[in-house]
């Protein structure tokens, strides 16, 4: 019985997940665009200019969602790391490694757009401020996870090591979040929080929430694409890939006749 469950987790799940992910991709793409297009239009055109920062505040519509996502992706990876370590679910490891590039990219976008916002507002591209530094560390943690995973030939060991490192890196998340409270920093404090009324005008808030939702669907889209690619690549010699390829070849043969 135990062997059957183990087999299901290690090989059975992809046969079910792979086609499902394929069916979901067009829908997730549609949802991404559905939120992105009005978010961009409202953020760049209709939202009123900020009374202090003028039009430069529009950088917020890509900077803030990217910074939020850099942390949310990591949080999702940390949950998957617990699942991977406790229940030995291989799919959770695939989810972590497939999340790393997009998570690192969100951190990179947050840092770069922050530089392009910091230059006109603070007069500097970069300062060694607590918020900026902890976000940079987050980017390095993402890259470290990727490097560690690729350092092992055996993907079972690689997955375990990666999951442990992912959990260790979680300590950085509250540091990023509270950095603007704990330290006296140049970075402005949060204007949108879960429990207080946001200190931002509704016409400025709506495009921000649209962009944040669009970025969540973007993460889901990239995750599904990358998980499918990683699964085929790693499982090339396994039964489920063989079945998918043979079905595909049969379909092509029938189309030729």
């Amino acid at each position: 019985m135990n062997i059957i469950i183990k087999w299901y987790y290690r090989l059975g799940a992809p046969l079910w997940f792979y086609p499902l992910a394929g069916k979901l991709i067009p829908w997730v793409t549609a949802l991404f665009l559905l939120f992105l297009i009005p978010g961009l239009y409202m953020g760049l055109v209709t939202a009123p200019a900020d009374y202090q920062q003028g039009e430069s505040f529009r950088i917020m519509y890509v900077h803030v969602p990217a910074a939020w996502m850099s942390m949310l992706v990591y949080f999702a990876m940390a949950i998957a790391a617990v699942v991977a370590l406790v229940w030995r679910v291989r799919m959770a490891e695939i989810m972590i490694i497939s999340s790393v590039p997009i998570g690192a990219s969100f951190a990179l976008i947050a840092l770069l757009t922050g530089a392009f916002w910091g230059k006109p507002m603070w007069g500097a591209w970069w300062v060694w401020d607590a918020r900026l530094t902890s976000e940079l560390i987050l980017l390095f943690i993402y890259l470290g996870i990727l490097a560690l995973y690729n350092a092992f030939e055996d993907k079972k060991t690689a997955g375990k090591a990666m999951s442990i490192l992912t959990l260790v890196g979680v300590v950085n998340l509250p540091i990023i979040h509270y950095s603007v409270v704990w330290w006296n920093t140049l970075h402005q404090a949060a204007t949108v929080t879960a429990f207080d009324k946001p200190s931002i005008h509704i016409d400025m808030l709506i495009p921000l929430l649209l962009m944040a939702t669009a970025f969540k669907f973007l993460f889901l889209l990239v995750l599904l694409l990358k998980m499918r690619a990683n699964l085929i690549e790693q499982d090339i010699h396994s039964g489920w890939v063989k079945k998918i390829i043979q079905d595909k070849q049969k379909l092509e043969e029938n189309n030729h006749v």
């Binding site: 039009e55 430069s56 950088i59 997009i102 990219s105 392009f116 694409l225 690619a229 690549e233 090339i236």
Partner: protein, 51 residues
């Protein structure tokens, strides 16, 4: 229109930010598509040789 591009004098900073984000996001969508395509092709070759 030129007012929109100018962004109250902040055009360079605003459009650089959105441009960088667009490039990074597009790369994140294209890369897994190519990765998947290559992996499928490799698998396809492997099972074609076998039969």
């Amino acid at each position: 229109m030129s007012e929109f591009i100018n962004m109250g004098g902040y055009g360079f900073y605003v459009w650089s930010s959105f441009g960088i984000a667009a490039v990074v996001i597009l790369a994140n969508i294209i890369e897994p598509i190519l990765h998947h395509k290559n992996a499928l092709k490799e698998a396809d070759d492997f099972y074609s040789e076998e039969s």
